[in-house]
């Protein structure tokens, strides 16, 4: 109980400092926010875990930058086979065909369902590419200790986190088509090697975003030091 009370008193004294208009960061005051429940803790007592929910406390995510770079690089490498190899191979009475991701979009477009073609185009081509580029931008800007458009970059990261999972769309389409279209002699659809690569891109880029600690944007720009 005593740790809770002492934490509360530190928080209260910190609160009185906030009265001044300048934005203060938790880390500059020797406080530590819990990543799970958001409660403030005293940084000195971080070994005990969060007083509210018991989660282990960390100043910042461990090795955030190097882990994020590693996942990002892996995702970028997988991006090449994901787009070059076919994700689907169909065999019909008319003959065999294989589709890359882009080919699937084109086929949808020609079939006249252009809203769907646009949806798949965004989910499987634009979003993964933008994710790779945006993550690179964020990581480079942290290394450069840049304070350029901090707010916009924070917003970009939120967008990235939200939109990443929707790229999995194509994998699910492949899964259903493969299972559904097995009409013995008439037609069958198989998954191609591109599907695995594409799934890996999506998972790896999600991991890259999760390993990244947004607070580093503000740390590296020097906004979280005590003035």
């Amino acid at each position: 109980m005593s740790t809770i009370e002492s934490a509360m008193s530190t928080i209260e004294s910190a609160m009185s400092t906030i009265e001044s208009a300048q934005v203060l960061s938790a880390s500059s005051l020797g406080l530590l926010g819990c990543s799970v429940c958001g409660e403030l803790n005293r940084a000195l007592e971080f070994e005990c875990g969060c007083w509210c929910c018991g989660a282990p406390l960390q100043q910042r995510k461990r090795d955030s930058l190097s882990r994020s770079w590693a996942y990002l690089l892996a995702a970028a490498i997988m991006y090449v086979p994901a787009n070059l190899y076919p994700v689907l191979r169909s065999r019909t009475v008319a003959g065999a065909e294989s589709h890359t991701i882009m080919g699937g979009v084109v086929a949808l477009w020609h079939a006249g369902s252009w809203p769907l073609a646009l949806l798949v185009f965004f989910a499987s081509i634009v979003v993964p590419l933008l994710k790779l580029l945006a993550m690179t931008l964020l990581l480079v800007s942290v290394h450069a200790r840049s304070s350029w458009r901090l707010q916009e970059r924070a917003c970009l990261f939120r967008l990235l986190e939200f939109v990443g999972r929707w790229s999995m769309l194509d994998i699910f389409v492949v899964a259903i088509l493969v299972a559904l279209v097995r009409l013995r002699s008439l037609a069958t659809i198989d998954a191609g090697p591109g599907a695995l690569a594409f799934g890996a891109v999506v998972v790896l880029s999600m991991l890259a975003a999760q390993a990244f600690d947004v607070r580093l944007l503000w740390d590296s720009a020097g906004r979280n030091e005590r003035a």
Binding site: S25, A26, L116, C155, F172, V173, I176, V178, L183, D219
Partner: protein, 195 residues
């Protein structure tokens, strides 16, 4: 404290329906929908029932020239595995089936532990796991995938959406509602108050 930029700020009292954003980076800090924790358990149970339904019936069927084929989510995973792409099967299994199911089970466990006289073991780990699972549970992405493939096939075959698809949409709505009502801070406040 803002979780995304570490800025400290005073939290004003919010009136109903207001949202609080960080004064520096604009991240969502808190909302004020009042006490909604009591809604989470019923929503979770309902979602669980629909989840079982969604996985025990096929999601879609197609009919071409008298041949009929249908698939469920687990059937799709099995088909991927049999066709020699176990990697893709694993991704689909984890994001489409295991993560949503685990989410519902853990949510139900965490909430029923509020009623227990003692704090159940590992509950804080479970709440953390729930947070971590959230981005990986992709029932709604799977749903959209199912719809896209239906439209793809609509040109060449007669497609029949079946019970699985309807239950899946119910799962998505109910899980989203349960998650919107589950707030970790409120949960721990409640846990401290009852134990």
């Amino acid at each position: 404290m803002c979780r995304e930029c570490d800025a400290l700020q005073k939290v004003p009292s919010l009136s109903r329906g207001e949202l609080l954003a960080c004064c520096r980076c604009g991240a969502h800090l808190r909302d004020s929908h009042g006490e909604r924790l009591h809604r989470v358990l019923p929503l979770t149970i309902a979602a669980g029932v629909c989840f079982v339904l969604a996985n025990s019936w096929p999601i879609v069927s197609i009919e071409v020239a008298g041949n009929r084929a249908s698939t469920s989510l687990l059937g799709a995973i099995l088909a991927l595995y049999e066709q020699g792409v176990p990697g893709v099967a694993l991704i689909v299994l984890l994001t489409g089936f295991v993560a949503p199911a685990a989410q519902l089970v853990l949510l139900a466990y965490a909430l029923s532990s509020l009623a227990a006289p003692h704090r159940l073991s590992g509950i804080s780990r479970i709440v953390r796991l729930l947070q971590a699972l959230r981005p990986w549970s992709m029932a709604e992405v799977f749903m959209l995938g199912a719809l896209v493939s239906l439209v793809k096939l609509a040109g060449v075959a007669r497609v029949i959406p079946s019970i699985g698809l309807w239950s899946l949409s119910a799962v998505i709505v109910l899980t989203a509602a349960a998650h919107a009502a589950f707030d970790v801070r409120g949960y721990w406040e409640r846990a401290r108050a009852t134990q």
